[in-house]
Symmetry: T
Subunit: 147 residues, 12 copies
């Protein structure tokens, strides 16, 4: 798995700039840099998209059918109503991993009810920025083989 | 009713290309061709839009107020959270028909709870591509008069 | 599909005679005549039964196993508690289409919860008498092939 | 209101013979006699039907459209699933009164949820056999005028 | 049963003056006059209290333990939260009848959930002012014996 | 206990003929033969009725009050809405055993909610045709004494 | 609209004296003074009542039918069970505005479920003492005309 | 803690006189005497109020802010809808203890859902009259120090 | 607070043109003009955006972090599923006020469940176009100080 | 099937000694003796374990994978929370039969919701000690063949 | 009542060592010492068991049938799923008192739903370590007689 | 973080031996070996415990307070009722990570409702055996620093 689509949902561009008591101080650019570095270590290539528009994310998932072997997604605010993202992931049949920075089980009750997770391979939440890195590892062939 | 807006919701552009065991093998282009042919038989004209963006669909419904006498819509993944589409249909007061390719009563429980259907004239589901054709017939004056 | 069983549930014999503001003015006899005419156009034969007794409808479905290729049913008041009809349709394994004259999504909340639809091929509702005609088309081979 | 249909639902023929600690010792024949006597006092005529078959009750309600000015009904076990009776009463648009011998609010929780009461004029429960008599009074013109 | 307490809950003093499309045009004074007349026919005496204060109603129920053989109550807006009235009725152990002018099953869903009815002898609703008269009859010995 | 009523609910006459992957290949006639044989071994007599009509089953239960010491019933599709059957069993006060061929806990959620079981002596489900035989044993005196 | 009834529900007399972290430091007297000043600016007159007794509030609403053109109410703890206040407002048919000092959507879940708001003209919450002032503006004719 | 307010909710004045199978035979006067005796042993003073009016109880709680160090309350029928009492206790910020004579977990389901307990220090139920005595001990400083 | 972002959600561009029985006859342009006039009176500046696209609204909220001191938002159809808007408002930590033209408590039940209100300062609904004006006042410093 | 594991859950060692009005007077030793006798008649061997520890029961089920062809289990108090037992039975894939002495449908509502039954072959309840014997028969090959 | 079993559920051995902001600083040893001292004052004897194993607690309750007149139990984490403890207490029929250190009504919603309390004599919660002492008093004969 | 407790809940000892279509073919020994290898790479030490007894797991968590800096736990069947494990983790305040081999969002609905996750740092599910390895990484300091 050498080509991976990374999707950041709505408001993730604010990461590190807003509400650091919940989401930490690392910016999205830093997250992306760390993801790129980890990917490079494993010979993988990332395309990274952040959007506040559900339609853009759906478009990206559909487009991934032509080139990606994996999807790493933090649906953010669309986690609870993003049925179109759900259907897109199910439609392209590319292994997807859902990640969340905070522990969705320890916040408002509605946040634990992801409508997207059921069509993903798995979910990782609660580890701050490392949720992304762990999620990427979960997709990488080289790590899966060596681990 | 000679001018009809046909709306395909998110991921419907994948029709026939993905998950054929659920949605069949007919592509969206073929669906559109069959819809156009049926419309032509009845002297009706169709404008067809597919979008993965809820806003685009809302824009189209609003725009239809100027020219269309009917709306045929498969809201797809927006069926369960598309309150803006619901409000748009109610707002323009053009008769709308909701269609689904699969039987929404025979899948996951959440799929039976359309938030859009209550403001439509009716709903048709479960007949594959023919759900669209039947939905178009339901809107066509010539058929309604002759049938 | 040339032999089709048409079932009208409880109170459908009042059609056109009572509550025309909800159900319209067409009588059941007229509905049947229009269904017969449409069937004739497609070379199909209909047997039509109306009953206020769930058992009679179950008997008819069972009996259809010997001769019918399709079932068109408006379960009416039994839509919400007719588990025996559900089991009968599932048992005989003949394609069935559920129809409703009114839009079940736009009335009392309990009316949207059909217990029969999950074992049908599909459902059509909201188009008045034309729900029946559209439902019949959905079953007819000749139309399915030509459409 | 001089012609009234009285309907006793399933198992009411056992009245007075079974479970007297719940339903009392008066038999259905005695109930009917008291109803007839009260009706006679007010110059009204009753037709009384008891059936364990929901369809028979629906038929009777439909038939009443031709001659009755009121319906007095104890749906018994059909109170909680008798949607067809509900639709029949709504369909014929004859004033109906639902009665119960026991207090449906003081028994199992499901017994308080009548699906028929919403389309009746009113409901009376808890007064034993006198629930019937009070229900009849509620329908009688002469009493309504004098009371 | 010759001494009966009649209780009218909050806002019943507006009867006939407000919302006549729901509650009719008869005033509370007229209701009380009709109740008094009916009681007089049967040799019974009524004490009638209307209050917008739950505590006043509870006090009255407790006081009734010293003189009344029956309670006729329309709890009105306290029907859904009047647990203290419920406990008072259960405490004094005087037969009580709950009445409502409108059909509580045919209005907002919360109106069907009386917390008081389970400790009453029975409930009567939907017959307008006559709900009161029927409720009084249900308490009167002379009527019970003769009916 | 030598006289037992055996009741088969709606669609049980299709047993062995339809959906054998769920219900097996044994026909109802064969079930009845095996029940008769087992009864004969224990000196018991069976009367067996199958009906798709709830009213017929209620009639049969009431009639059993005159001659039967036990009831063996598979309510089938009426399990979830057969309140009249429930009331009939409670009314005649004959020990009843509810049986199901399939494991009602392992199918759709609604199938586990029997409204009849609470008034039965017990319930047996999941053992195919042997659910009937085990249910019959549970009613037979000779077996109860020797086991 | 020149005569307005202002109602403060239970415990509002503690305003500014207790729990200032939730309700602020302004006392009820100060609130009333500010309301009076604003009313005077618009040529309106206020009658202000605070009570811990639901019945007193209901009495006041009924009395308002004779003189008031608007009601401004903070039902406080009665927001969730004050059905009698609800019925009183509906009964007198005077435009009412419900206000809350705190944001009822951001506290315990039960606080968002007002039983009174459905019969009010509108609701304002979350602006501290200014919720009252905004609510008064919403009722004042002069402001409505000029704004 | 030497000054304590004791509040008895609606119908508690009937204690010992009504429903002794649930609440025992001790009268409220006897309860109060035993409370006074226990308080005297610990050098504490009690003010005791019983009321059937929620407003009176709220007034008393507010008044307690000037003199009491603890509140002992049996809200009785107001336990389930007494949001104003809840807010009053939270407002005065005096430690309160809720007591119930019967075990609220072992009666009707609604009785376990106290809306007042969340703002109390604790709750004691099920010990008959001794629930009061235990509740008083829980408030008394001298006992808390010695125990 | 002199710079305020005003956001109109999906379909608000139809205001005054469609469904005037619900939303009135004032157009969005007129609403904006009145808002601008009121802002000018208080020395405030408004930037006004209407969009049918949730992403556009999220973008605007994020952008406001650089210049606005307040947000006035009518989320319209996104009120019930706009978690991304919710997160954006929480993220930028600018005081926001949610407004609705109609009384959301008096329409379909789902409309009362705003997912955005919990992160707003407050909510105003039911006053037609004046809901906007009141909401603007709630944000304006000069008014807050003078009122 | 000649080797069967019999498991008695928590408190079953009290059988016959406690609460005989619910569970009867037969002791667990007597139950075991009767089970052994019945097994012996059919040439089967039983290993019987009673434990109040869920872990012990899970261990026993796992161990059974090496020698047993069937499991007869009364999970008792673990019926409603014993997910580990459920997983163990599903894991070893040995046919299991769940039995209960009392009719779980006729007691507290929570008792009807077995979390273990869905992975069992079937369930038998309500027949006292004979529930065990019937459950054993359901597992025995010799009986299945002859019956 | 001179012999009492005291049971501490899972994690109570951490009392005073962990989470003192919730549970205080008193250790379990100190609690036990205080309980022993109080018991000694009243001439009672305690046997005290703490276990993290539900089975051990069930064993202890069963064993208590031979010697104890009362049970004092803090089920801790088993409060919400300890059906086996519930059945054990019901089985031995020894008066039991459930205690909790914290106020279970003021924490997570699930903590208020004890499955054990319904079979206990009563429950005490919220008084820290004194919940135990009050619970012991509730069981002691000498105190009950003198109080 | 160099000392980590690894806990495997009930039935995990069957891993790789049972239901490989759900859980894969890797045995628990192999999982442990891979965990040990990964830990060794990072200079960490593991103590690994598998138990079918909740009490044993609670004991282990408590014991970890003396030596461990992290807990890696797959609660398995105790995920849904293991409140004692939850309280133990909260009590010892050691960072814990919950892992599941399968995607708990894509199986039976009850499996998504972990009662333990809210007190953990985070959760990882769906990646087969690699869920464990990813969970271990999430706890390891050296990886967190380098990643």
């Amino acid at each position: 798995m050498s080509d991976i689509l990374v999707l950041h949902g709505p408001n993730m561009n604010l990461l590190g700039l807003r509400e650091p008591h919940i989401y930490g101080k690392t910016t999205l650019a830093e997250v992306n840099a760390r993801l790129q570095a980890l990917a490079a270590q494993h010979g993988a290539t990332l395309r990274i998209i952040q959007s506040n528009h559900e339609g853009v994310l759906v478009d990206a998932i559909q487009d991934a059918a032509g080139w990606a072997q994996g999807i790493l997604i933090n649906p953010a605010g669309l986690t609870y109503s993003g049925y179109s993202i759900r259907d897109a992931i199910a439609g392209v049949a590319i292994p997807a991993v859902e990640v969340h920075i905070s522990n969705i089980f320890a916040r408002e009750a509605f946040r634990a009810l992801s409508v997207i997770a059921p069509v993903c391979k798995g979910q990782i939440c609660g580890f701050g920025v490392q949720s992304y890195l762990l999620g990427l590892l979960a997709l990488l062939d080289s790590w899966r083989e060596s681990s």
